[in-house]
């Protein structure tokens, strides 16, 4: 059973973001890291890049395959988790905390309402 954190919002493509944070912390869900397994490389976005919600923002590589990660909300990337450069396995071990991927200065907080709440996401991956 994959863990779903109650305080986060989710895209159906398995990215999460924390609506209580500013800038908004984003990552991929426990379900996603489980599906990928063995994350060996995370290609993080450039700080300063402006993205729209749903845009492919970076690539996460497992032994199995390369996978796109999509921006859960629109805004400017203001920080990336540089610890992933040396230890990409953080995404597997701690997807909701130490394995966060990037922070976005959100343009429109109303976009959170378009994302799935924890219960809806649980149903989505069930």
């Amino acid at each position: 059973m994959s863990a779903v954190a109650d305080n986060l919002r989710y895209r159906d493509s398995h990215e999460w973001c924390d609506p209580s944070s500013d800038p908004v912390i984003c990552g991929i869900s426990d379900h996603a890291q489980h599906e990928l397994t063995d994350v060996v490389f995370v290609e993080l976005p450039k700080v300063g890049r402006v993205v729209s919600a749903g845009e492919a923002i970076c690539t996460i590589e497992s032994v199995k395959a390369a996978n796109d990660v999509y921006a859960p909300i629109s805004g400017e990337v203001v920080e990336v988790n540089e610890a992933l450069f040396n230890d990409p396995g953080l995404v597997n071990r701690d997807p909701y905390l130490a394995g966060w991927m990037f922070k976005i200065k959100a343009f429109d907080p109303a976009e959170f309402d378009k994302l799935l709440a924890a219960d809806a996401y649980r149903t989505h991956i069930a």
Binding site: T37, E61, K64
Partner: protein, 348 residues
């Protein structure tokens, strides 16, 4: 699960890395029921196979097998396979699942009425497992008892048990000690479950296609479709050891003789990424001296080495170990180095 040569097969049961390490450190069990088996028998079997295959089957005594190649007229590789001699007049061939039909068509096209050869395709009625790793002996003893002889490398033993006929082979695709077992598919589940249970008791695990790929690539073993094709010869693929140019004529020999004297245009080499980089994957462009010269044939992240590894056909000028190349990944170039095969050697 992924579609694979008409089968649905798991890329991983748990994790490619864990399954890979199970084989290197303990033992792993693979379902290889998808692979093809042909039985070639009759007075003319030896001469026929020597016409069709690159290696010299007349050198095989009963109970022994070797790696060999089936070529087209132009010297390109149709398939790579293991040919085992089960008796004076009978051979057991294990071929790639995706090439069964092409192999059969090629063999049939070379058969004439005068040959006294029977060619049977047992693929759809045969299942198989591969047990690989330093503790494969423990699994073998659990399956067959303390007194049973573990199949030595490159041997075959046809055994009869209450669970049906078995072809027991001292072969594998991982670089580890191990054995492969083929049996009619009605009984393969019995052997698979028993082997998986025994492997787990020895600290091992069941392994999928993903680990099969990372393990074989660390050894520099080619995969047909990625590293072998009808457009390139076994000499280009670095498989000259399995080609016998001294035996009587065989299909594709002319090109090989020509390449032997004039040289090959390119060679299949192994490479490894030299810095932090995403894993190389098939079809990524390869750059040498600023120019794209090739693309990745096989590539992955090596669980044993912790870096990206792969194989590619490079111009001979760029094929020497130590040559610096670059792999282009999503528009960015990452440094890599041509290295000797195998990429991984057991630390003993």
């Amino acid at each position: 699960m992924v579609p694979f040569a008409g089968w649905e097969m798991p890329v991983q049961y748990s994790s490619i890395t864990d399954e890979h390490k199970a084989v290197r450190e303990h033992v792993g069990v693979f379902d290889i029921s998808h692979m093809g088996q042909f039985i070639v028998s009759g007075h003319g079997a030896e001469a026929f196979l020597n016409r069709a295959l690159t290696n010299d089957v007349s050198k095989l005594t009963p109970g022994h097998g070797h790696y060999t190649l089936l070529l087209n007229e132009a010297g390109g590789v149709i398939d790579d396979l293991i040919a085992y001699r089960t008796s004076d007049r009978e051979f057991y061939l294990v071929v790639n699942a995706s090439k069964i039909d092409e192999d059969l068509a090629q063999f049939r096209s070379l058969l004439t009425d005068e040959d006294d050869v029977q060619l049977a395709n047992a693929s759809s009625m045969t299942g198989g497992i591969a047990v690989q790793g330093p503790k494969s002996h423990e699994v073998f003893r659990t399956l067959f008892g303390e007194a049973a002889t573990f199949p030595p490398r490159n041997t075959i033993f046809v055994s009869f048990t209450n669970e049906g006929i078995l072809w027991l082979c001292g072969t594998g695709y991982t670089g580890e000690e191990g054995f492969e077992l083929f049996t009619p598919d009605s009984h393969i589940e019995h052997w698979f479950r028993k082997a998986v249970e025994a492997a787990r008791a020895s600290g091992g695990n069941v392994c999928g296609l993903g680990a099969r790929d990372t393990l074989r690539l660390e050894m520099g073993y080619p995969l047909n479709g990625n590293d072998l094709s009808q457009l390139r010869s076994p000499l280009q693929a670095g498989l000259g050891f399995f080609v016998d140019l001294d035996k009587p004529a065989f299909v594709g020999r002319d090109l090989l003789v020509k390449q032997k004297t004039e040289g090959v245009p390119d060679k299949l080499v192994a490479f490894r990424m030299t810095g932090t980089a995403p894993p190389p994957r098939p079809h990524y462009p390869i750059v040498w001296k600023g120019e794209q010269v090739s693309e990745v044939a096989s590539g992955t992240q090596s669980p044993s080495l912790g870096c990206g590894i792969g194989m590619a056909y490079l111009p001979v000028e760029a094929a020497a170990p130590g040559t610096s190349i670059e792999i282009e990944i999503r528009g960015k170039r990452f440094p890599a180095e041509v290295v000797k095969k195998p990429l991984y050697r057991r630390v003993s």
